[in-house]
Amino acid sequence: MKLFPIRGGIHPDYRKERTSEKAIVALPMPSALYIPLQQHIGAPAEVLVAEGELVKKGQMIARSGGAVSSPQHAPSSGRIMAVTEVAAPHPSGLAQSTIILETDGKDEWGDLPEPIADPFTVDPHVIHDRVAQAGIVGMGGAAFPSAVKLNLGTQKKLEILLLNGAECEPYLTCDDRVMREYPDEVIDGARIMAHALGTPRVVIGIEQNKPQAIDIMTRAASAFPNVEVVGVPVQYPMGSERHLVQAITGLETPVRKLTADLGIVVHNVATARAVHHAIRFGRPLVARVVTVSGGAIREPNNILTPIGARVADLVEFCGGFAARPESVVNGGPMMGQPLPSLEVPVVKGTSGILALTAEEINDRPASACIRCGSCVTICPCGLSPVDMAAFVRKDNLEGAARLGVMDCFSCGSCSWVCPSHIPLVHYFNYAKGMLNDLDRELRKNEHVKALVEARTQRLEKAAEAKRAALAARKPASDNAPSSTSGEAKTATEEKANA
């Protein structure tokens, strides 16, 4: 298959060999699970259980909180200990509403929805509803509710379901292992999703540094003429949705558009497997494979983890720390988020937990920019980080926005390559946050202004009507003075109300 080049990108040390040959092992069920109500993009889920209630594995314990939301299910059987505030797996460490489940060790499944016997003959909305019910979200890290994305077929004519198995982040091997150990489940899930989306073709993109996965998946896909496995070049950030679409189809997604506008929907390979489980067995998403790695971890591993297990449980299972970790990261080292502590739960979007030593991170104090232009050369979005950073440093956010800082998706390539170790992504995240705040403020102000204007008009109209009524009632000679007083009164009224 002909591939297309993508712009820029980097070739970091992948360090995947630490876990790529480690078969997936299940984490012993922790005594308590912490299930946050918001593990996805969109509205938080709404709690369905009360303290003390007994639940079975797979039972829905919080329902979808809106059109873009996702329910939560009990990852094991046990008793609800509390619904309370617990630190979120987020750099802020802020507390978040969380259901705490005390497991009973039996891990008993509850009543599950019936499997869909022949998913390729049912109406797409049946698949969509099941995926929504199963609480499946994008497992590549973004955690966008998958059902919403599966619905795109009803609005647009779609050509390709692109399954993202690029796994371009260093260290991470969870998708690699899932593809190597469960190729048939992944491909079955993908075909079901393709049916739901109405796409005639399924393309599975895998970076060429995973030859076994490519090989196994190609063999598994050979039975299906419309499923194709493609080895894509090893080039970070190949796993970015827009870049993978460009590499495979040559199509460049315009800004503020979706890949779906080009007829392509991208889903992660682990998501496809979760769909397989939901459709064929009625099982909701209650566990995922997490790569636990990094120089500070004694025995790195790929671990099948129930949602809600604490990061500390995973670290302990891996033999604890062999060295002092400088940072513990949720996700890959390039785009992952630092974790404030180990007492936070694994959520549906957690692909990796990395305990990295200072040596691996190799961060140094920033020195002066020497304008080497490396950041411009490697930016996969075609931006000029050097110039944007200069604006952000002076807090000239408008200037940074003009240069396209909002187009940056924080892939981290510029920070990685910078010889002066300038934290460019940090600058851009700051700018994006501030610009979003400003935008929200602006929209709020406009809304208030519109309301005030509408009110003024309404008052004027009322005054007008009053005047007209008065004029009609009184004789013509008295008209002038009374109308003046009427106007004065309206003015005072308005002043008081303002």
Binding site: I370, G373, P380, P419, H421
Partner: protein, 359 residues
């Protein structure tokens, strides 16, 4: 802004490169050509080289101390050493010590620190140093000598060298004209290029460096080797060197074809003067050249054309320093107009129309 106070966001991985490593690699790339030329021009050149690099480091230290910046930490980025090195390479090899010292003051003090230090300067510091010296002391700055290899007969010993560098005793007999200078002088006496070319060293000697010229510019081959080394290390890309030499060669070749008596050939322009040094080591200076590849091509082409124009029509026989400085001044504007096209946008920054195929 409050970036410093909160935890830094990712990435949690970094390449192993650093400013110090970059500068050191450039020094390494310059070393063979420098060593060979120091050998060719002997003890006076070694003394001048030492004085110039030393002066640059001293001025840098003084400026850093004045600005209350960390002195030792910043000096160890080698940028001042590199500036001093390039400045020394652009001076006549037997020039007196004060040329190096004064050049250092202008290069580091004026061109670099007055603008805010490393990364902030608009103009190439070494070239500012050289140009100020050339304009202020044209006689001293054009006193060329033919190579007097170390320990060869007639080469000055260490004591004579001290007299030359620190005593101002330039022996009269050794002076020679650079090839570019020679042709220019002869042209002014109405002797055509075709005839004066007979007196300049052959193409091979010019390539190897056995000719009169600045301290470090004469060995085109060794400079080329250093440049290729830098490319292999991905410190520089081909864009600037190739466009500088391409621009110069093209202009020279076209005009040479039209009137060989008036205009020297393209290959002569390439191997003479500081063409190679300029193309690989001076025009490629990160700070003072554009950041985008497209911008670098325009910048290099401009340098090449300007070098030829200055060599051919201006009062000075050599134009690399002037050409680079002129293009330095344009670099920020070039940068503004050559920003890469953003993903998903047209060159004008508008969202791409749907369905447009890019390959």
């Amino acid at each position: 802004m409050s970036i410093a106070t909160i935890t830094k966001s990712g990435p949690f991985a970094h390449a192993t490169n650093s400013v110090q490593k970059t500068m050191f690699t450039v020094l390494l790339a310059l070393a063979p050509a420098t060593a060979f030329n120091l050998y060719l021009f002997g003890w006076p050149a070694i003394l001048l080289f030492t004085v110039t690099v030393g002066a640059c480091v001293a001025v840098e230290a003084a400026c850093l101390a004045l600005a209350d910046r960390p002195v030792v930490a910043t000096l160890s980025d080698y940028s001042a050493v590199l500036t001093g090195w390039l400045l020394a390479m652009s001076l006549p090899p037997w020039a007196p010590w004060w040329i190096g010292v004064l050049g250092a003051v202008f290069a580091i003090g004026l061109a670099k620190h007055a603008f805010g230090g490393l990364g902030q300067n608009v103009f190439n510091p070494a070239m500012v140093g050289r140009t100020v010296m050339l304009v202020s002391f044209p006689v001293v700055m054009t006193a060329w000598v033919m190579p007097h290899p170390l320990f060869s007969s007639g080469a000055p010993g260490l004591f004579e060298a001290f007299a030359i560098t620190f005593g101002g005793h330039m022996p009269d007999a050794v002076s020679a004209a650079s090839a570019l200078g020679h042709i220019k002088t002869e042209l002014s006496r109405h002797i055509p290029v075709t005839q004066s070319m007979a007196d300049v060293p052959g193409l091979m000697d010019m390539m190897l460096g056995y000719r009169a010229g600045s301290l470090g510019e004469t060995s085109a081959i060794l400079i080329l080797a250093g440049g290729l080394f830098l490319m292999s290390k991905r410190i520089i890309s081909w864009h600037i060197p190739l466009s500088v030499m391409g621009g110069l060669f093209l202009m020279a070749a076209i005009f040479h074809a039209v009137d060989p008596a008036r205009f020297a050939s393209g290959s002569f322009h390439l191997v003479s003067g500081a063409t190679f040094l300029g193309a690989f080591f001076i025009a490629t200076d990160y700070v003072t050249s554009p950041v985008s590849k497209k911008g670098q091509l325009i910048f290099g082409l401009g340098c090449g054309v300007l070098i030829w124009l200055i060599r051919t029509f201006a009062g000075y026989p050599e134009g690399v320093a002037f050409a680079v400085l002129l293009m330095n001044g344009l670099a920020p504007i070039i940068d503004q107009y050559t920003r890469p096209r953003a993903f998903g946008r047209t060159g004008k920054g508008e969202p791409l129309p749907l369905g447009k195929e890019k390959s």
